[in-house]
C-alpha cells in the first residue's frame, strides 16, 4: 500500500460546529444526549433520548438563502467538507479531478423521504416535490458537496450501518493506492428524524428511561486522506498516518449485532497486523461502545484480550450518540490526538454494526 496521511479533519456535531469545540467539550465530559420531549414525540411510556444539533447555520461556508434548498444532512456535509479541506490546506483549484469524496451514512435523506411519503399519501400521488426527491437518496450529501466544491474524482456513498464511515476510509485507501485520486475526503453524515426515532423506539433498540440502548446522533465528520507523496510535495503537515485497517463480517441477521469477543479481537488484531504494529504501541482506543450492555461487554473482553491492561479507552458514543457520523468523528478525533499528543504512538478506532459488520482502523503519528 502507498503511504497515506490524514492531513486535515473537520466535524459538525451536537457538541459543536467544529472539531476543536467538539473535542474540548467531549474531554470535559459533556454529553449531547438529551430527552426528546413529549411535545415533539407525543405521549409514550418512557422518555427517549437523542443527540441532536440544536441550532445550525451553514454560514459562513454557504449563504443561508442557498442552503434553504438543501436537506439537513447535505447542509452538514457542505460545512464539514469545506472546513476539512481548509484545515488540510488542500486547494481545489486545479486539483478537481485529483480530489474525491466518500461518505458513509445511516440516515441521510430521512426527512425528505418522510415528507415526500406524506405528500403522496395525504395530498395526492402526483404532489411529490421534485426538489425533495433527489434528496431522498443517501448520496445527496456527498454529491451536493461535490457539486459545491467541484470535486470531480471518485464520489461514493456507503450505507453499511454504523461502520459506514470507517468503510468509507477503507475504500478510500484502496482508491488512493490505485492512484484514482491524490486526496479523498472520507467520513460520514447523518440526520436525526422523528419518524425514524419513533420506529426504532418501538422496536426497542434505543435507550429509554427504563431500558439501556443506544442513542441516535446526527452531524458530519470527515478527514482528508492524502497520498504521502502529494502531501510531501505541497509541504502539508500531516496530522496522522493511516497505518492499517481490517474489515470483517459475522453471519447474523441484519438487525443483530454479533458480539463475540473472539471475533471482535480477531478484526482488531488484523488491523494491527496490517499496520505492522504490536498492541503495545496503541496509546488510545476509540471504542465502539454505544450503551448496549452485552455489546459493550463483548468489546471490553476483546480489548482486554488484545491489549491486556488496556490503554486509554474513549467511549464517545455514550456522550454523542451513535450513527455512522459518530465513527467518522472518532477518526477525526484520533487524528487530532496524534497531532496534539506526542508519544501517543498509535490510535485504534473500532466500529461494530448491526448485521455483524466490523471495521477497525489504526492511525499512527505521521
Amino acid at each position: 500500500m502507498r503511504e497515506i496521511f490524514v492531513t486535515g479533519a473537520a466535524a459538525v456535531t451536537p457538541l459543536g460546529r467544529d472539531l476543536e469545540t467538539t473535542a474540548t467539550r467531549l474531554a470535559a465530559g459533556e454529553s449531547a444526549v438529551a430527552e426528546v420531549p413529549a411535545s415533539e414525540a407525543g405521549e409514550r411510556k418512557g422518555a427517549a433520548y437523542a443527540a441532536r444539533i440544536a441550532t445550525f447555520t451553514t454560514e459562513p461556508e454557504m449563504p443561508k438563502a442557498k442552503a434553504r434548498r438543501l436537506d439537513r444532512a447535505s447542509q452538514f456535509a457542505v460545512v464539514a467538507v469545506t472546513r476539512g479541506l481548509a484545515e488540510a490546506g488542500w486547494t481545489m483549484a486545479g486539483h478537481e479531478e485529483e480530489t474525491g469524496i466518500l461518505l458513509g451514512t445511516g440516515s441521510a435523506g430521512a426527512s425528505p423521504l418522510v415528507e415526500l411519503e406524506r405528500q403522496m399519501a395525504v395530498e395526492s400521488p402526483e404532489s411529490a416535490s421534485p426538489f425533495l426527491f433527489p434528496c431522498t437518496v443517501a448520496n445527496a450529501p456527498a454529491s451536493v458537496a461535490a457539486i459545491e466544491l467541484k470535486i470531480k474524482g471518485p464520489n461514493v456513498t456507503i450505507t453499511q450501518k454504523d461502520p459506514a464511515g470507517l468503510n468509507a476510509l477503507f475504500y478510500g485507501r484502496l482508491l488512493i493506492d490505485d492512484e484514482r485520486a491524490k486526496a479523498i475526503v472520507v467520513g460520514a453524515v447523518d440526520e436525526w428524524n422523528l419518524t425514524y426515532q419513533l420506529a426504532y423506539e418501538r422496536l426497542r433498540i434505543l435507550k429509554t428511561a427504563t431500558m439501556p440502548g443506544y442513542v441516535l446522533s446526527e452531524g458530519c465528520s470527515v478527514v482528508l486522506l492524502e497520498d504521502g507523496a502529494s502531501a510531501r510535495a505541497r509541504g502539508a503537515r500531516p496530522w496522522a498516518r493511516l497505518a492499517g485497517a481490517a474489515s470483517a463480517g459475522s453471519p447474523v441477521s441484519p438487525q443483530t449485532r454479533r458480539a463475540r469477543p473472539e471475533e471482535i479481537a480477531a478484526t482488531i488484531r488484523a488491523a494491527l497486523a496490517d499496520a505492522g504494529l504490536p498492541a503495545s504501541r496503541v496509546g488510545l482506543v476509540h471504542a465502539s461502545a454505544n450503551g448496549v450492555p452485552w455489546i459493550d461487554a463483548a468489546e471490553e473482553a476483546a480489548l482486554a484480550d488484545v491489549f491486556g491492561a488496556a490503554p486509554r479507552v474513549d467511549r464517545i458514543k455514550l456522550q454523542i450518540g451513535e450513527n455512522p457520523c459518530s465513527g467518522a468523528l472518532q477518526l477525526a478525533l484520533a487524528a487530532r490526538a496524534l497531532r496534539d499528543e506526542p508519544g501517543l504512538g498509535a490510535v485504534l478506532v473500532n466500529s461494530l454494526g448491526a448485521g455483524g459488520n466490523q471495521i477497525a482502523v489504526v492511525l499512527t503519528a505521521p
Binding site: 500500500m1 478537481e96 479531478e97 474525491g100 469524496i101 451514512t105 415526500l116 411519503e117 406524506r118 403522496m120 399519501a121 395525504v122 400521488p125 402526483e126 404532489s127 411529490a128 416535490s129 421534485p130 426527491f133 433527489p134 437518496v137 443517501a138 448520496n139 445527496a140 456527498a142 454529491s143 451536493v144 461535490a146 457539486i147 466544491l149 470535486i151 470531480k152 474524482g153 464520489n155 461514493v156 456513498t157 450505507t159 453499511q160 450501518k161 468503510n167 477503507f170 475504500y171 484502496l174 493506492d177 490505485d178 484514482r180 419518524t195 419513533l198 420506529a199 426504532y200 422496536l203 474489515s247 470483517a248 463480517g249 459475522s250 453471519p251 447474523v252 441477521s253 441484519p254 448485521g355
Partner: protein, 404 residues
C-alpha cells in the same frame, strides 16, 4: 495495489423477464419487454402507470421463518445470489469464508414495507402502525442477508449512489480482490419498486407514460424496473487452479464525479466521457479495443444525447464502428441494481456473441446517432465491452469486461 486479476465465475439474475439467468437472457435476446401495468400498489393517481416488475416472487431457498422476515429486495437478491454461487461451483464448506466478501449496490431495500408503515402512522397513529414493517428499511439489508445465509465472513459494503450503485459495487469488489483483502466477492445489486421512486420520477417529469424508448426521437422518459444481478468475482489464479469456468474477466472501472447538477447530466458529454476514459485507463485499454457499449440509455430527454456525446468523445472514431444498446428498453431502469443486471447481460454478450437490442425504437434521433441495435438482437464478435452507469448526483461509473 497488488497485481492480482479478477474474473467472473458465477452469474445470477432475477428480473421482469424471468426469475433466473437463462430466462432473463432469453428475454433480452428475444427483445421481449418486461414492462407492464403496476400491480404492487394502486397507481391510478399517477400520471404514469407502468413498471417492469418482477411478476412472481421467486423462491430464495430459505426457511419459512426467515422468508417471512425478508423484503422483496432480499428475496430477489438471495435468489440471484444462490444461482450465482451455484454457477461458480464454489464448495463453500471447503472455502475459507473469511476470504469471501459481499459488496452490493442497494437503495430501495424494504421501502415498500416502510411506506406501509408511514401510511399507517399517518392514517391510524402509532398504535395502528407495526414497526416491524420498518425493519428492512436500511439499504444494506440484502448485503447482510446474503452474508448471513451463506456464512460469509469477509469484508462487506453496500453502495448507495442511486443509478450507479451496483456498478460501483463491482469496482469496490474488484479492488478488495486486487489488494489481496479477499479472494472471492459476491457482488452486484438488488433493488425493487416503491411509491417513492415512482412518484419522484413522475414529479421530475422524467417518467414516460408509455414503455420507455431509449435513443428514440420520441422518448419521454424512463420506466422503472426491478431486478437483481449477482456476479461472483474471484481472483484469477485460484479460479484457474480449482478449474472454475471463467465466464469473463473484469478488466477495470472508471469512477468519477460530474460535479454538475443533482438531476441533470452534464450536457456536453465531457463529464461522462471522463468516466469512460478513466475506465479505459484502469483496464489498460485503448478506445479501439472496445467492441460494444452497454449504454446507460435511460430514455430521458437529457441522458441519451449526452451519453451519445460521451461515447463519441471517449471512443473517437471507434464509436461509429461498434454498436451500443440499452437493456433498459426491456428491463426498465432498475435504479440501484441497474448496473448489476446490465453487467450480467454484458458478460453474456461477451460469452455468446449476441448483442441484445434496444427495443421500442421507432424514429431515429439525430442527436443519438450511434448504432443502437434497434429492436432486433445481433451477432457480434465482442471481446471487450463497457457498461455505463450515470446517476443522480453526478455519480458516474463505467465498468469493463473482457473475454476469458
Amino acid at each position: 495495489m497488488l497485481d492480482r486479476t479478477v474474473v467472473v465465475t458465477g452469474l445470477g439474475a432475477v428480473s421482469s423477464l424471468g426469475n433466473d439467468l437463462a430466462s432473463t437472457w432469453a428475454g433480452l435476446v428475444a427483445g421481449r419487454s418486461g414492462i407492464g401495468p403496476i400491480t404492487l400498489f394502486d397507481a391510478s393517481g399517477f400520471r404514469t402507470k407502468l413498471a417492469a416488475e418482477v411478476r412472481q416472487m421467486p423462491d430464495p431457498g430459505v426457511s419459512p421463518r426467515l422468508l417471512r422476515r425478508l423484503s422483496r429486495t432480499d428475496v430477489i437478491g438471495l435468489t440471484a445470489a444462490r444461482e450465482a454461487l451455484a454457477d461458480s461451483g464454489l464448495d463453500l464448506e471447503r472455502e475459507d469464508l473469511g476470504r469471501i466478501g459481499v459488496v452490493l449496490g442497494g437503495g430501495v431495500s424494504g421501502l415498500l414495507d416502510s411506506e406501509n408503515y408511514f401510511r399507517d402512522l399517518l392514517e391510524k397513529g402509532p398504535k395502528g402502525a407495526r414497526p416491524t414493517r420498518f425493519l428492512n428499511h436500511p439499504p444494506d439489508q440484502t448485503t447482510d442477508r446474503i452474508a448471513e445465509v451463506w456464512g460469509l465472513l469477509g469484508p462487506r459494503a453496500t453502495i448507495t449512489t442511486a443509478c450507479s450503485s451496483s456498478s460501483t459495487s463491482l469496482g469496490y469488489a474488484s479492488d478488495l480482490i486486487r489488494a489481496g483483502l479477499a479472494d472471492v466477492v459476491v457482488t452486484g445489486g438488488a433493488d425493487t419498486f416503491a411509491r417513492l421512486t415512482h412518484g419522484g420520477f413522475n414529479s421530475l417529469r422524467a417518467a414516460d407514460s408509455e414503455p420507455c424508448r431509449p435513443f428514440d426521437r420520441g422518448r419521454k422518459g424512463l420506466t422503472i424496473g426491478e431486478a437483481s444481478g449477482i456476479l461472483v468475482f474471484e481472483e484469477e489464479g485460484r479460479a484457474r487452479r480449482r478449474g472454475a469456468t471463467i465466464r469473463a474477466r473484469f478488466l477495470g472501472y472508471g469512477l468519477t464525479s460530474d460535479a454538475h447538477h443533482m438531476t441533470q447530466p452534464e450536457p456536453s458529454g465531457e463529464a461522462c466521457a471522463r468516466t469512460m476514459r478513466a475506465c479505459l485507463k484502469s483496464a489498460r485499454l485503448n478506445p479501439g479495443d472496445v467492441d460494444y457499449v452497454n449504454a446507460h440509455g435511460t430514455a430521458t430527454v437529457q441522458n441519451d444525447p449526452a451519453e451519445t456525446l460521451s461515447i463519441k468523445l471517449a471512443l473517437g472514431e471507434r464509436a461509429r464502428e461498434i454498436c451500443i444498446s440499452s437493456n433498459k428498453s426491456m428491463l426498465g431502469h432498475c435504479l440501484c441494481s441497474a448496473g448489476a443486471i446490465e453487467a450480467v447481460a454484458t458478460v453474456r454478450t461477451i460469452e455468446t456473441g449476441i448483442v441484445p437490442p434496444t427495443i421500442s425504437y421507432v424514429e431515429p434521433d439525430p442527436d443519438c446517432d450511434l448504432d443502437v441495435v434497434p429492436n432486433v438482437a445481433r451477432e457480434a464478435d465482442v471481446r471487450i465491452a463497457l457498461s455505463n452507469s450515470f446517476a443522480f448526483g453526478g455519480n458516474s461509473t463505467v465498468v469493463a469486461f473482457g473475454r476469458a
